[in-house]
Amino acid sequence: MATTSEGTNEYLLEATDVSKRYGAVVALRSASLQVLPGEVHALMGANGAGKSTLVKILTGGVRPDEGTIEVRGTERKAHSPAEARRGGLVSVYQEPALIPDLDINSNLRLTQTPVEPFRHWVRELGLDDLDTTMMAREVPLAAQRIIDLARALAIEPDVLMLDEMTAALPANLTERVLEVVNGLHGGDRSTIFISHRMTEIASVCDRATVLREGATVGVVDVADDDSADRIVELMLGEIVEDIAERAEHPVATHRDADARPQIEVRHLGAQARLHDVSFEIYPGEVLGVVALEGQGQDELFDILAGSDRPASGEVLVDGRQVTFRHPADAIREGIVFVPADRAEALLTQRSVRENIALPFSVRIPRWGPIRTKTEKPKVDRAIERLQIDTRAQSEVRFLSGGNQQKVTIARWVAGGIETMLCFDPTRGIDIRTKHQIYPLLRELAASGAAVLFYTSELSEIQLACDRAIVIFGGEVTAEVEARDADESTLLRAAHNLRADALLPEEVVARSETGHDEPATDGGT
């Protein structure tokens, strides 16, 4: 389908040999991207491959040093997102671009979005009862992303760019988004779809452009049988073999009968979302948590990390009941927290070293000045163990997302940990770093730590966990051993359906025979 013999004019959007350097750092060497009218085009690449720089150039946020961008055959120079919008390219970013202090109506007016099409898309995306007089800050994050997407769809841009659109969405909304993206095929408009999830690429995209080290290394026809392998191969270059081994499942826990749980949670309740959650984590295991958006998992992690207090129930550490008034209390009990949003955990304007060393001051109850001599080897060991790219170590904000997340984990690893709470730690991180994080969690468990691991990406449960609990409506509704925890089982459990029940999406698919969209097959 991608015949290039007719010349360049057939492309809706064409970026040719785009390069960008920041001082000595080359972010893009020679990136090219050709998008055909009517296609959904994937843009892929590991962190640091230059993907986000290319996105910024296309959306007008950053000016390229060299190279051209043509839309429908005419060169386009956009110096701001506003100009890019006028040029027909609208982008939906990872963080919703809604103004928190304006209501939804004002937000629509700000981007001059026609309202009726907006309402149509909002309904299409599964958000039926939207009150547009609500302040954007009062709308839950997942709904904000849906609104942001509906707003972009309503403008009907020539090129719609979706940057990690599904990264923080719960499974049910992800399905709806993928359905809608699938419906965008055809016509003379195109979509650029950026995602780290291979199954999504496979289900909605026609072609994929792969970046590595700042250059376009290949374009893959997604319809080909071996496309997934080819994409991974192109993205990773030589390290592909390591990842092939990932299929090997971690050893199931051989828990002694008299083992004492590291953490025991009994009938925990808080606010409206969390009702009655009980479970145990044992030393040496990684316990997965699976839940749709807003089932109480956020509250659970906040309580365990000491940033919030429960309304009912109790938490036992090593058999002793504990009450946390501050995260420092939790840290003293050996419980550390890795949030999804790196910015919540890191001092982004300080160095890698300082960030890793910071928690020492809490962990070690010692008065007087911090002893850099004993600190340094520990920090060095942590950096080495996590393979953190320290070229840009002067300030953490210059690191890529994946490396930042490694720093948040490293800071705890350096001090030695007993319990680690990970809340969607791989959100928006490239596949390569993800596959460095899973073994790390396994290693931590092997050395006797207990790890609680919430993930919005169901396939990660089998890659990293021994078993998983499913939270639905503020209660633990199921416990699944890792060997049984394939994506469809987990998805059913997360919807609180029996193992043989149909998912709502499947019911819809079956009732609508002659559906003109290709079926979305989320679980492989």
């Binding site: 701001s80 919008r85 629509l108 700000l110 009150d131 547009t132």
Partner: protein, 333 residues
Amino acid sequence: MSTAVDTTPQTKAPRNGAISTTLRRNWWTIGLLGVLAVLLVVTKIIQPSYGPAGIQGLAISVLPLALAAVAQTCAVIARGIDLSVGSIMALASVVSATLMDERSEGFAVVVVLGVLLLGLVLGAVNGALVVFTRVPDIVVTLAMLFVWAGCALLVLNTPGGGSAEWLGNVTRGPLVTDWIPKAAVLLIVVVAVIWIPIRRSRAGLSLYAVGSDPLAAFRSGVSVTRTKIFSYMLAGLFSALAGLSLTATTGIGTPVPGPYTLMSVAAVVLGGVSLAGGRGGVFGPVVAVVILSLLRTDMTFLNLDTNLATVAQGLILVGVVMIGSLIQLRRER
């Protein structure tokens, strides 16, 4: 991109919720009005003779500070701060007083328009410096505080000059009944005429957008640069109006800026405008100015030491803002 489609949002939400929503969003201002009402009653109790004359005096003393507070609000909503408000007032005051001195009434109209234009230009300079030098707002406007104050002293180094007859007449005295001071009406009309159209336009939305989340605003297609400059131009315009009102009410130009800048910041905070930007309106700060002035008056009636009165004013400011934050915390639970 289709441009033919209607772009005005037609909210089909039920109207009955609209009033309660308005009340809920403006609870702070409504609370301030309550405080003001209580304060008026208290004033009447401690000084039974307080009447039309007191209200007249209050309105005239409030006018410059209220306009300065509105100026500050314009900068703060867009996540800036303008420390040069007082200096621009002084410059506007001396320029107008010098030019109007012993000239015709008609020429004064030209002077007023010219001074308003001057305010816009000074504001634009502030804004451009903030945007293009990338020096923090507080540093740039602090520097400009000295620059504009110096300019004011160059124009007139002792209080002097004069004001047109009509300018004094529109600010002093009552309208219709003794209870309605012209100064209050003028304040409301001027602020409403300038602010309401802006608030309703995309420019006004942009002010709030940039103050609320500059990155999201940028990505929504708002020009952050232009909006910032616009916010400082508005601040300059209202500062010039405040300076003109000083000349009008006193009849002379004053080259030394009064305590207006910091009082304007206090009024903005008390008026429910978030210093972090994006929240609040101009009505709250205006009410806050009236409350602050009335407090001052009450303390005079009580024969309080003026220095002690200043201390008390500060403590009340902190107290009220603290109570406000506590209420806010409760509401968010």
